[in-house]
Amino acid sequence: MATKAFQKIYTKITQITKATCSLKATGVGYDELASVDGKLAQVVKIVGDEVTLQVFSGTEGIRTNAEVVFMGKAPSLKVGDQLAGRFFNAYGEPIDGGPIPEGREVEIGGPSVNPVRRKQPSELIATGIAGIDLNNTLVTGQKIPFFADPDQPFNQVMAMVALRAQSDKIILGGMGMTNDDYLFFKNTFSNAGALDRIVSFINTTEDPSVERILIPDMALTAAEYFAVEKNEKVLVLLTDMTNYADALAIVSNRMDQIPSKDSMPGSLYSDLAKIYEKAVQFPAGGSITIIAVTTLSGGDITHAVPDNTGYITEGQLYLRRDSDVGKVIVDPFRSLSRLKQLVTGKKTREDHPQVMNAAVRLYADAANAKTKMENGFDLTDYDNRALAFAKDYSSKLLAIDVNLDTTEMLDVAWGLFAKYFNPAEVNIKQVFVDKYWKN
């Protein structure tokens, strides 16, 4: 970032900690950006004429006579159509070797949408993955995370969802992403010929961790441009929000704040909500949908990060490897989309809610039968049929490599019902059975 003319340069730093430095300065605004020997920093505390700066990339090597210049603005992003197809770092600077995009400069982390101006989400997002479309249908304007263990293929699933969802723009916010994953996304998107509708803000594990804090706001500022000004349907992918929360914890720790549960800052709920609540359906047609990843440690969802996330987001998706069919599936029991009833059976075929519930119920029967079998009890004929159904259901519908439209999924489900059960066992409204049962 270039310095402007007539800016006062300070050269006397009075205090340096691992993440912050302080100096005497006047006329400085809260949240304002500064450069400390070229390193970006933000004002986090002002007491009289003493200003404390948080240096994003860390304070290594900063001298007490470092040059400090205040930029008179909060962190911002130049928004415009030229963002499309580009890769940026946490400061919104290109990392793909291309030119700096031109556009209107907008401060990131802007105001919230007035709740009375929101529209109720009602448009289905088709991903082709039945574990999502059939059982946990997503809706534009929704916010939903994958709760995943670090070894699960959540980035692959997210990339697949992003490419299949008929969105106008995809904004990728990568926090603490490995370089390999970054390249995976880059290659997947470019192989699919989709680069022109993708904007990426990437902070890899090689970059300083505190920089990560800027990524979601950068991504969502870009998303708001396309959703508000272009009325586009924007899908924002944030991976991995646990890394974001960890960065917040580092900052709050260095600022001597009292930690609350799991060493996380007391404001974690508000910090996460500010990001996720940017998901919105605008009345003019544009929308922002957020699909995020929250990695769990040892599957523990009571940890502060997944716990607070669960209270904010509209459901959550779990991946699981099904050892019976050897595939990764979307777990039908623990996954939940809170907004699905806004579209299922309304935007999809009428039998959708009933078929979905029946299939999950039968799958639960199979799980019970499995427990029975493992405990050495005799299985009934029904148990055996349920088990066979579960295998088919798992590999033909729940597996993440399935790609069908919702009507096909419903037909496949009816096919499986007829193959293994009689209508009474499936327990669906008679009118639907008459209409859709496959003889």
Binding site: K261, S270, V280, G315
Partner: protein, 585 residues
């Protein structure tokens, strides 16, 4: 001369202001930042420095920015025209705001100053009146909205003039009063009141005793809440807190419903905005929105205003109670409010209590719940504020400060349970852990004997005991196996399942099952209790299961049918037939 100040320090939304005159704790000030005035509240004073929490983002604020103190605490504006409105936590009318995004420093007037209200005088010239006494009334969405002597008036006044029946705006003079010294004061339809003070213009606050019907069986039948009562609903995410709260706010037999969406999802408020104008109040047949006020301070709106929002809601509730109305206040969720307190306490560098919450959390929660209640007004009328709050315990663990402190003060406890939710047994209120202290109140027991039936409480206690017994047997069966316990145990277990499926579980998304009027609850409770008291003949445990599954299915069909309709009667007859098959006595 108003006190002024200069900004000296900024950490997030905690700002230090050096003042040039007196300030009071909780006084409101406006700080000018780049031409925009931001509202803030004094939360600590040390010497000349006042520490204020700004209700909005402090981005761009500089040392040297000017503050103007207002000489009063955070207030709400009370008057006709609040019903059906959508406010933020500081009572700004959200619908009056321009644009899609909230603008910093935009404050809108909560009432309509143009609208004319049809006024009817209630007081006469010469009447001796005091704070809270009724001078007249206007019709607000079919509610008699009383124009009262402002709550801030002290002592006794004499009515000198009252406006004649006719149409007036809120700022017209409705009455002229003279105080003890003969000085005249004018009264309009509008008054202001500081939100953190309780409105106590009533004669007495007896123990509440009147059942508040909600149409939710697990509440009305099993753990009833009363007019002026307090209750809370803790539960991990995904257990149906919001669905239950919405069900109560839609169906409760209240005159006014105030929903404080405090730090929760914006889309949930949007659901209320979208649905309530369409839905019909089951008690009056009018649109639900007509009796509803929404205070929306969603999770992405400023944190400090979140703390204010519950007080704003409570003050409005107390105002309507002063008119002799039944007010129901729902806050979702009080944990977010406590978290807002925690964030501020943290910035003030106070020594933290458990889980980093402020030490006085329990006092703050207790004071707030104490503002609810059933009151006798000075003129003999009664009014009530019933308060139900939700709690979002971290990690679903009920042993955390907010849940524990709330449990000490709220009289009803509706514990939502993950396991019940996983098994799709909605509403997922745990029947064994949950309680309503009101069941033990002699006043309540007397009221129920008179209005429902003398042996109602006995039956309610019986089904509670049966649920507990059923749970114990289920555990035994799990250990010993189906064959390991006598058949009679299976019968007892399935009787508890019958209670669970027919009384406790309720389909909030089914038009008929969602609302169960009291007469119907009484009928079903009688039916179920009589079945539970009967003796049956079975040979094997498999017979027990089959038989009770059939019975549950028939009862559920009854729940899904219009009460006393042909279908209902037919299922009822089917149930009689089925009972004849096995009943011994």
């Amino acid at each position: 001369m108003a006190t002024k100040g200069i900004v000296k320090g900024i950490v997030s939304n905690l700002v230090t202001v050096e003042v040039d005159g007196p300030v009071s704790q909780n006084e409101i000030c406006y700080i000018s930042v780049g031409g925009v005035k931001l509202m803030a509240e004094v939360i600590k004073v040390i010497g000349k420095n006042a520490f204020v929490q700004v209700f909005e983002s402090t981005r761009g604020m500089r040392v040297g920015d000017e503050a103007e103190f207002q000489g009063h605490m955070l207030e709400v504006t009370l008057g006709p025209g609040m019903l059906s409105r959508n406010y933020d936590g500081l009572q700004n009318d959200l619908d009056k705001m321009q644009g899609v995004f909230l603008k910093r420093g935009e404050y809108t007037f909560p009432l309509d100053s143009e609208k004319k209200w049809a006024f009817k005088p209630l007081a006469k010239v010469g009447d001796r009146v005091g704070a809270g006494d009724w001078l007249g009334e206007v019709d607000e969405n079919s509610q008699p909205h009383k124009i009262m002597v402002p709550f801030t008036f002290q002592g006794t006044y004499t009515v000198k003039e009252v406006a004649a029946e006719g149409a007036y705006t809120i700022n017209d003079t409705m009455a002229v009063l003279t105080d003890a010294n003969g000085a005249e004061v004018k009264v309009t339809m509008v008054q202001k009141w500081p939100v953190k003070r309780a409105i106590t213009c009533y004669r007495e606050k007896p123990r509440p005793f009147k059942l508040l019907e909600t149409g939710v069986r697990t509440i009305d039948t099993v753990n009833p809440i009363v007019e002026g009562g307090t209750g809370f609903i803790p539960g991990p995410f995904g257990t149906g807190k919001t669905v239950l709260q919405h069900a109560i706010s839609k169906q409760a037999e209240a005159d006014i419903v105030i929903i404080a969406a405090c730090g929760e999802r914006a889309n949930e408020v949007v659901e209320v905005f979208t649905e309530f104008p369409e839905l019909i109040d089951p008690h009056t047949g009018r649109k639900l929105m007509e009796r509803t006020i929404i205070i929306a301070n969603t999770s992405n709106m400023p944190v400090a205003a979140r703390e204010a929002s519950v007080y704003t809601a409570m003050t409005i509730a107390e105002y309507y109670r002063g008119m002799g109305l039944k007010v129901l206040l729902m806050a979702d969720s009080t944990s977010r409010w406590a978290q807002a307190l925690r964030e501020m306490s943290n910035r003030l560098e106070e020594l933290p209590g458990p889980d980093a919450f402020p030490m006085d959390l329990s006092a703050i929660v207790a004071n707030f719940y104490a503002r609810a209640g059933f009151v006798h007004l000075k003129n003999g009328a009664t009014g009530s504020v019933t308060f139900i709050g939700t709690v979002s315990p971290a990690g679903g663990n009920l042993k955390e400060p907010v849940t524990e402190n709330t449990k000490k003060v709220a009289r009803c406890f509706y514990a939502l349970e993950q396991e019940r939710a996983d098994r799709k047994r909605y509403p997922a209120v745990n029947p064994i852990d949950s309680y309503s202290k009101y069941l033990e109140y002699p006043e309540f027991q007397e009221y129920i004997s008179k209005h429902i039936s003398p042996n109602w409480i006995e039956k309610v206690n019986e089904i509670k005991t049966r649920m507990l017994r059923g749970k114990e047997i289920a555990e035994q069966i799990n250990i010993l196996g189906d064959d390991g316990v006598p058949v009679a145990y299976h019968v007892t277990f399935w009787k508890s399942e019958l209670i669970d499926f027919v009384i406790l579980q309720q389909d909030a998304f089914d038009a008929i099952d969602a609302v169960t009027p009291l007469a119907r609850q009484e009928f079903m409770l009688d039916r179920v209790v009589n079945i539970c008291r009967a003796e049956f003949q079975f040979d094997t445990f498999l017979d027990v299961m089959d038989y009770f599954k059939k019975m549950i299915n028939i009862c559920k069909q009854m729940n899904y049918s219009e009460y006393q309709s042909e279908a209902f009667k037919q299922h009822n007859a089917e149930l009689d037939e089925l009972l004849k098959e096995r009943i011994v006595k």
